[in-house]
Point group: C2
Chain length 562, copies 2
């Protein structure tokens, strides 16, 4: 098939990006020439997040599964719908790419069939994909980390010293521990990000992003059999048996759309299918030109900070650094804040008296909108408060889920909107600390682009600009991940020679939308100094009150964790 | 007049106690033989607290004045009304006594006429009584403290190292600084507690309680002229000119009710008028037998802790120790928490989402009642929180109004009732720290009786019993101060030889109403250890973040204090 033959120029070619989120999938039809978004469609997964029961049996706490049938089903809905929405001929589509939550991983047969789709295993929880927020593999993660530090595995420093319970190895080890038969029957252990590509093009691939950030693939290899044996002798061949496969660069061609997948999606068979990717990482090219030092912060319920560097550095508390992890040819650094929009939403639900909700209703606004406006109207520092943004723990730079939130400076005159603003600011201080930690480790951040749901809040954006004392650029798309996927599809289809060139043509950024005010930034310098002092006091061992409070809480609740 | 002549026995004699509060006065008619409360009446002051404007002119921030005409007017209302309510013959009343807020002090002529009642001074703010919570004399208090420490005045240690801006000297010095003509024209500078007695019996007296706790009268003398001259040369003769007067013991006879006062109050002239007293201190005998080591905690918007000792000790951070300051013959110790019920009310107003108010309405309860019940239902420590109770500063043991509130341990699962409970507990930890500080300084607390508005909350009471790991006795009267005044009236009238004997007969206490639970107390020991660690970190100079936050706030608000 030669798309350009029956179209006048490249401007008429389109690509489809599909973003697989936690609860739904979204397809975006994008013009190859300039990234214009022509059409979109979204579909919720039939089974959503499976975290309470499976086949009538209750799941333990902290479990979160999904049904892989939902992924393929959604694909068959959203792609044709987005094409219709765009009003283009499906024959104009020259490539398709996807991004996924991660690490969402599962056991499959050598054919790619998920074990949970085998009739005799349908009721077995460990046969299902473990969603990124499945947190029941913490004991396995603890073993993984202890052994790594004991053996001085050099890769552990690439992950801020800690492998997450959310990642591939901890989840696979949990299967081995708790349902060895499932472990045994799994020919492959694969990210959903790669599995969905397998469904599209018929080839197993492993993308550089999930392999690096979630699969401990560093310097061309996975953890050694010796190390794995130290976790469990039966685990020694985990890599060789279930993971090992050539790693594909992002934007690479995974294969061609199979006739079956083409029929399901309403596309032409044989078009390019790009290598899989992750929702946060794929957003970077959607935010315009790629450059070392340009950080893209995807701010939503939590925040991911993605930045490319020209070399390898060990940044304390980063989530990971991966060669080609964001874009081939550069070292991709990832950091994160585990609670951002989640904290604001928690406070709006739990800490704001009724008169504000009433007032918001009168004005026809949401409560967060009203709080944002009330917060924005306060002079910087007038609330006399400082908060630590650890209500959901700290991902970077302390990498400590056992920490918790703090508010200092309360008086009998303190109001809920003042506390709300202090919480907004606390997350901005957290971002500043991450950026300064990168800088101090030799990875300077020279430009900051924000993406994600929180870009809708001008109050939050201005606070960040002032706290960071730097202009904030804003991604020019409301569908950052899907646009990023579409960019990768264009590269895989050969429309651009590489992702950076495609990003320059198809990505969109509005530069310097929010500019810092020097006077406000001066006050924030003082408040940030207080934040750092409290951060270090509570977070670096001077007073381990937060762990002790959790222990007291767990004993009070009967020994379980909550 | 011989009351006992026309009555069969002492059981038929009555006394009247009048409690002058911040907004109203209350009279209580009490049977002398057993303290039975026969009748009561209350009346609000016509001018209340004058803190916004006076005669059409705006008052500066932190000012709080009163109109002394309100005091005498209220007296003429509540005493006759209480007598009517009791259904007794006014001739049965053998004595009257009063208690007052303190330090509420004013400039008067040698005749006792308040300067604000002179026609040519009616519009002059400094001619009016400065209510206890007038806080505009802080600069003067700062000078008083600095000079005291510089000169090593030995009395400063009797006040926890700090003279309050609320007390006599700071307020008088403010008058001298800001309106020297008023200062000049004041023949006397007197507590309202003593001024009201002057109106009743025609004699100027000075009671041991306000002289000691509010007037720096120690070891038989006031601060020296040399010291006063160091504050301002014109202030050198302040004591000699405006304060000096023999000090009267509590329960002593100030004089006899004048015919004019008797007519105004509907009482018999010539009956005993007791020496003045202070609302908190006078409550101690109302709570039953007097004994060294028995602490009476008057818990309301703030808490006063009163305890008698047999000797003099210097307790860090106490408000004051005064020989005969609570009862003649013992050293009276006072400590305090500047925010208790005020903190709970602040949080109920500012930190609780609407659904709880809705739920309270459905149940026909107040929001604090609902929060109390919800708090009481939580297992100790299940909220995972620890708070510092400094939203209104810390009176004891840190004596620092610049401190502020802290909450540690917040998570995305934390709810408003959990924070509410943590605040209740924080005030209980504050009380425990005060009691332990007394113990460590050689003033053991062997018994604890609670009084004040918070005794209505069983949740608060049980938390205190558990945190303190000791039984809580509860005062047996809802009118502690007025009953305490009545007891002093009975002593002044000669019905009892001294206050302790009168207190045993007329005071009332319900013993051990709340008993500690050992398991809960064990958890509280752990939480209290965390409280102390944070208390010392934020309160003893390791991190002066709270002062800096206040300074940032004041700059943000334009340099003023708030």
């Amino acid at each position: 098939m030669d798309v350009s033959a029956n179209k006048r120029d490249r401007g008429e070619a389109y690509v489809v990006g599909v973003d697989f989120g936690t609860l739904s999938a979204r397809a975006l039809v994008v013009r190859v020439s300039d990234g214009a978004e022509a059409g979109t469609a979204v579909s919720e997964y039939a089974h959503g997040v499976i975290d309470r029961e499976l086949g009538g049996r209750e799941l333990p706490p902290d479990w979160a599964l999904q049904d892989p049938g939902d992924y393929t089903e959604a694909l068959g809905v959203v792609v044709p719908a987005a094409i219709r929405d765009a009003g283009i001929d499906p024959g104009q589509v020259i490539g398709v790419a996807t991004d996924f939550t991660a690490s969402t991983c599962m056991p499959v047969l050598a054919t790619g069939t998920p074990l949970c789709q085998l009739p005799d295993l349908a009721g077995r929880p460990h046969a299902y994909p473990k969603l990124w927020k499945h947190h029941a593999a913490q004991p396995q993660a603890d073993r993984i980390n202890a052994a790594a530090h004991e053996r001085h595995e050099k890769w552990i420093k690439r992950y801020g010293g800690k492998i997450s319970s959310e990642w591939q190895f901890a989840k696979a080890l949990q299967v081995l521990d708790e349902d060895p038969e499932i472990y045994q029957r799994a020919d492959r252990w694969i990210e959903a990000a790669d599995w969905i590509i397998w469904q599209l093009c018929g080839n197993e691939t492993r993308n550089a992003c999930t392999a690096g950030y979630k699969g401990i693939f560093q310097d061309g290899q996975y953890p050694s059999p010796d190390y794995l044996a130290a976790l469990d002798p039966r685990f020694a061949s985990f890599v060789a048996d279930k993971l090992a496969h050539p790693i594909s660069p992002l934007g690479g061609l995974a294969g061609r759309l199979t006739p079956a997948a083409a029929a399901a999606c309403g596309l032409t068979d044989g078009i390019a299918v790009a290598v899989g990717n992750v929702d946060a990482h794929v957003t970077v090219p959607a935010a315009g030109p790629i450059a070392p030092g340009k950080m893209v912060a995807i701010m939503g319920t939590s925040t991911c900070h993605m930045v490319n560097g020209t070399g390898l550095a060990e940044v304390p508390g980063m989530c990971g650094v991966v060669d080609g992890g964001i874009v081939a040819g550069l070292w991709g650094y990832e950091a994160g804040q585990s609670g951002v929009g989640d904290i604001f939403a928690w406070f709006a639900r739990n800490g704001v008296p009724g008169q504000f909700a009433d007032e918001a209703r009168r004005r026809g606004e949401s409560l967060p909108e009203l709080l944002d406006q009330t917060a924005a109207a306060q002079p910087v520092g007038a609330h006399g408060l400082i908060a630590l943004d650890w209500e959901n723990g700290n991902r970077s730079v302390l990498v400590d889920a056992g920490l918790s939130g703090v508010i200092v400076g309360l008086t009998l005159a303190t109001t809920a909107p003042e506390i709300y603003r202090a919480l907004l600011e606390a997350t901005a201080f957290g971002t500043r600390l991450i950026i300064e930690t990168f800088r101090d480790a030799g990875v300077p951040v020279t430009e900051l682009v924000v993406a994600g749901g929180l870009i809708k809040s001008a109050a939050v954006m201005q606070i960040y600009a002032d706290v960071l004392r730097r202009p904030l650029s804003v991604i020019g798309s409301e569908q950052g991940p899907a646009l990023g996927s579409a960019i990768h599809a264009a590269v895989a289809a050969g429309a651009y020679p590489d992702v950076p060139l495609a990003a320059s043509a198809m990505g969109r950024v509005n530069r310097d939308v929010y500019r810092p005010d020097a006077a406000r930034a001066d006050v924030y310098d003082d408040l940030y100094a207080e934040y750092v002092r409290l951060h270090d006091y509570f977070g670096r061992g001077a007073n381990e009150v937060m762990y002790r409070l959790r222990a007291i809480r767990d004993r009070a609740l009967g020994g379980g964790s909550r």
